[in-house]
Assembly symmetry: C2
Homo-oligomer: 323 residues x 2
Amino acid sequence: MNIESLTFSLADLCREVAQGQRRSIARALSIVEDGGAAAAEVVRLLFPASGTAHVIGITGSPGVGKSTLVDALISRIREDNLSVAVLAIDPTSPFSGGALLGDRVRMQSHTLDKSVFIRSMANRGHTGGTAAATGDAIRVLEAAGFDLIIIETVGVGQSELAIAQTADTTVIVLMPGSGDDIQAIKSGIMEIGDVFVVNKGDLPGANKTYSEILAAMELTRTSSAWAPPVSLATAETEEGVEQVWENILSHRRFLERSGELAVRRTQKMQAELEELVGDLARSCLQDSFRRCARVQELLDSLARKTIDPHAAASEIFRAIFST
Amino acid sequence: MNIESLTFSLADLCREVAQGQRRSIARALSIVEDGGAAAAEVVRLLFPASGTAHVIGITGSPGVGKSTLVDALISRIREDNLSVAVLAIDPTSPFSGGALLGDRVRMQSHTLDKSVFIRSMANRGHTGGTAAATGDAIRVLEAAGFDLIIIETVGVGQSELAIAQTADTTVIVLMPGSGDDIQAIKSGIMEIGDVFVVNKGDLPGANKTYSEILAAMELTRTSSAWAPPVSLATAETEEGVEQVWENILSHRRFLERSGELAVRRTQKMQAELEELVGDLARSCLQDSFRRCARVQELLDSLARKTIDPHAAASEIFRAIFST
């Protein structure tokens, strides 16, 4: 397929995305996930229609019940007659190269609802571009006209930071016991959450965890005008989900009233731009690294300990970038 | 302080590290953690003495009891009269810029033992260099003469991949229930573990989790000559810790006998070298990004949607690297 016909069919595809055709949305998502020239073209075509949805990030440790909460939120959102797309981002092994989880099992109940779209997306691991790839996927879903976009991701540390960089409202899900509360404080996620949920509220110790999170909030409280609300929920029975939804809406109103929404989106765009430029530099670098004949010699010297790693890296860097 | 006197005092410091002086070890670790020219100099001085210890990575989700297991392993290792250093890597908030956890509370019992050294190290988040910074910290501890170095880290996904890139033997800790087993398979960590431990073996469902992990091992089994052993433990009471230690030693023997140790270390050095060159490129890029006048104009165009993010990134990349 030559580039003109490819460009032509991508334009068709993007028109179908704008009409909300599900198969085309799925295909466009695959294209932006794969990256490269086709992804850039799809984003170019869809970008003018982007920036319209409220993007909700939902994150927390494995096993806290994020999927169940998302499932319950979808039902609640549909009661308000809003359309919603879910991107479930799975950590991926760099060895197998693909997500082991397919489309969500739990969410089968919504598959016949045309105003709900659910998609698993692989997290491409180390090689960067998570926030940028997620940003592009969000653009596809916005162009398709969804009112709300939920980004669900597992993990601590980096994946949560990436979600906070992408979402308008970041929801942190915790559960009673298993040291989750302390770990949350340790890993610094208290500072990125806009809304907190202690899920599995029917477990013993739920009230204790709830109080500890509240206390931790006081400690890490920033000067921001928004005090992140904490609520108890049992997503399994939908108990407390109404309050979570209220808290999300309330945060949205705060963002709009305070002008914070525009400020955040500019910051996010800048961060994404820096990431994209970094990705371009990285792929340029990786090519050069593999082609650089000096690398193998330096690895031999390192094995013999006649040079140290930092000196070797400086030499390679100079060799690549002074050409 | 001028550079010569700094270099001179770093040489003194490194001599004291080689003599095993604890305060100097701690200072050298701070220097390599901070990075920069002083870190490179310390590594240059200590590198010839490195590569001597067995590096054990211990990882798993929050709350599985990694610290308790490490504590129990230290006691077991000391029975064999081996010296051991522990680096506990905490996920750090990019906002507060420091680890909230200080030196480990649980491990106080070992603080009077001169053959045990415990240190918390901040994970510097996004900005890369985790594996390289950990690699440098390991070099300091090796130069100080420790027989074993344990790297403990929380998390799923990227932090675990970083540990597998650094350790000779990677121990994955899981616990019964809370979906840990399924999450482990999902996140691809089955493939990076050399030794598996189902901790909290006294909890209900421990045997079920144990069987599920064994079954998952069969599924993800690679052609490698090493079949990762799985064992049940209750680190709190030290039950099963002997078996974990046996499994670690057995993996070490496998690495040496098969020649795999040398192969892995060369691969790791290559990965670290690539990361170091990437770090140099990234910091060069960040400087340029901030100085590039076109960035602000492009952000305005992005807000007006007259350009798309990929096109903007390409333009900045060309502006920075064509100079």
